[in-house]
Symmetry: D2
Subunit: 202 residues, 4 copies
């Protein structure tokens, strides 16, 4: 039974995510799912973007989209094709203010891609660019003060988990949930995913 601050932090994060499940909007999630199902049907390209640890959460989801059969790419990697009208961008930023992500989302907007933003701040520069927003609670790496949305979950305690951890972990599990919902709606089994999983990988 793991103890110490490692235990306390794991308990804190799981408690936070359990409450986040109740505060994330089902409508917002359904919009995201619908867009992803549409993108699948028309063979659209999906470009995932995020900076730092949010970017890594995005990459984790991008791998699952690949396993589901999507034409998916990650900003900053070698293999990124042209994005066109009708393509889909998934941008992850707790604050919605990460400079390079906002710049990239603006570029995506100009070429006519649809933008799904996962952010704590719908009223941020990224949020205002987005066609679809899924609001994920969490503290951002920028501000020490949480918005009311996140504060309701955290209560008055200062969390142990530093910087954007709560946002990143909540987004990770949310997107793992979205993966399963897409599996069910696309009629894909775990075996189908395994068949697209890299067999030579680092």
């Amino acid at each position: 039974m793991v103890g110490g601050f490692t235990r306390d932090t794991m308990v804190e994060i799981t408690n936070f995510i359990v409450k986040a499940i109740d505060s994330i909007s089902d409508d917002e999630k359904n919009h995201m799912i619908d867009e992803l199902l549409e993108a699948y049907k028309r063979g659209a390209r999906v470009l995932v973007m995020g900076a730092g640890r949010s970017g890594l959460v995005g990459k984790s989801f991008a791998m699952r989209l690949l396993h589901l059969g999507y034409h998916v790419y990650v900003l900053g990697e070698t293999i990124v094709p042209r994005i066109r009208e009708g393509d889909l961008v998934i941008a992850i930023s707790g604050s919605g203010r990460t400079r390079l992500i906002v710049t990239a989302a603006e570029a995506a907007k100009i070429v006519g891609a649809k933008i799904i933003a996962l952010t704590t701040y719908p009223d941020s520069p990224l949020g205002r660019l987005a066609d679809i927003i899924v609001r994920i609670p969490g503290r951002t790496k920028i501000a020490k003060e949480e918005d009311y949305f996140t504060r309701q979950i955290l209560g008055i305690h200062e969390p142990l988990a530093p910087l954007g951890t709560l946002f990143e972990d909540t987004t990770m599990l949310f997107l793992d949930g979205v993966t399963v919902e897409l599996m069910k709606k696309l009629g894909k089994t775990e075996e189908d995913l395994r068949n697209e999983h890299a067999n030579i990988e680092l």
Copy 2:
């Protein structure tokens, strides 16, 4: 309140992690913490490695080690220096059989680095190479059958979360816990971490 399979999966994963907190060994965690504290003191290099989504979890932890002041590197990135005796390797593989990770860990062993393995299978090729093992429950992307360790947590139900998801998410939260424990033991505040956080990032 998010619903559908997204909700069910998020509930499943958090339940799994809550139980995993009780099944991860405190001794193993403490060994890992001690090695990391020692590595910090002697300014050792830390090389993090993992394939696929496990690799992304490793990168998330590597970022936190950077914020804590470590000389940390990630296998497969541009900037990876020579690893020497006394350096530390953190290898993440649910199955402990990921070919390139085992090969890289063997190379690390030869040069005299100490290896911490996070794996579900202590008796795997990676586990046998490791100096320190932290056993993390989870299903692997390879086998549909879980070992007894994981089965105790999962019960008889087939999980919704596909492939290595449970291992990856549990490892993510465990390493976020380790981060906080290192913060406390190194006397670092959130402000200290913010001061090393990238200000130009993608």
Copy 3:
């Protein structure tokens, strides 16, 4: 007019490459071109792999394959699908002994992919795994002594360019040449390439 060691080195490298043009086999190049044309026709996946600076040269070529319309991937990146029989692997290693590349090529061999190796040493572990070898002169980062093939070009002088530089730069220009030959044979114009070039990129 740039001077100093920068000039001397640039002159040395261009002289080396000019001579390398005469020592690279046209047959070997043609085999590589034919395999790539075949792969294009059958929509095969192409996986590019190399370590360190050779890996970066591989990524540069992979971008061009993307612009040419290939389904191309790079080992170590997020988006790498399953490789199957009939897929193509392009492995770059001057010495032909880079451990992780040899391991990855072995894995590719097992699943039935065809392997094109760019190496100075046809008789290396990588060379022996390959279906097609294109021999590129150069010194390797491992050995100070060059083989006879490279020594004929270098003469008796110790080159200024350190480690694998000559191999890497020669391979870079060779693959840029292969790109143009593929363009011509696939009937693609610069405009076609531009139309697939990333418009949102880092």
Copy 4:
């Protein structure tokens, strides 16, 4: 003796680079070398940035800076620390207009880092942000028309090498030259570089 368009292109590129050696300014190169020597002495951080193939050329140089003993990082990779006043940014963009690179350079400017730009267009947004410019001839991936600087080298012929190839390859060899000049001025041997070269790498 390699033939076909592969040969023609390799000949074209080496001819271009040979002429570029005469058109790159020695003063500009010396300013760059001086800044890099200063950065070495004060242990400054060096952040290398470029998009697409220019970014890969930047990564190749970043590896050599690592081998030379620099604290060097690459934009877009996992391990990127805070950049501060007195740190050095090396930005590579043929057109000087690559959106994310200009945005990142602006951010670097704000925090007080010094910016070295390698570009064909000194009067571009990136050029205007830079403290030091090294002008490298080449066509950009954006414009079909070359500036007078590049046209003098190319003559009236349309080059075979598509998009930014001439810029990228010239920059690659220029930076390999800078590497040797830094080696000499820092008193480093090939053996010193080898001692910092990754021994576990992909």
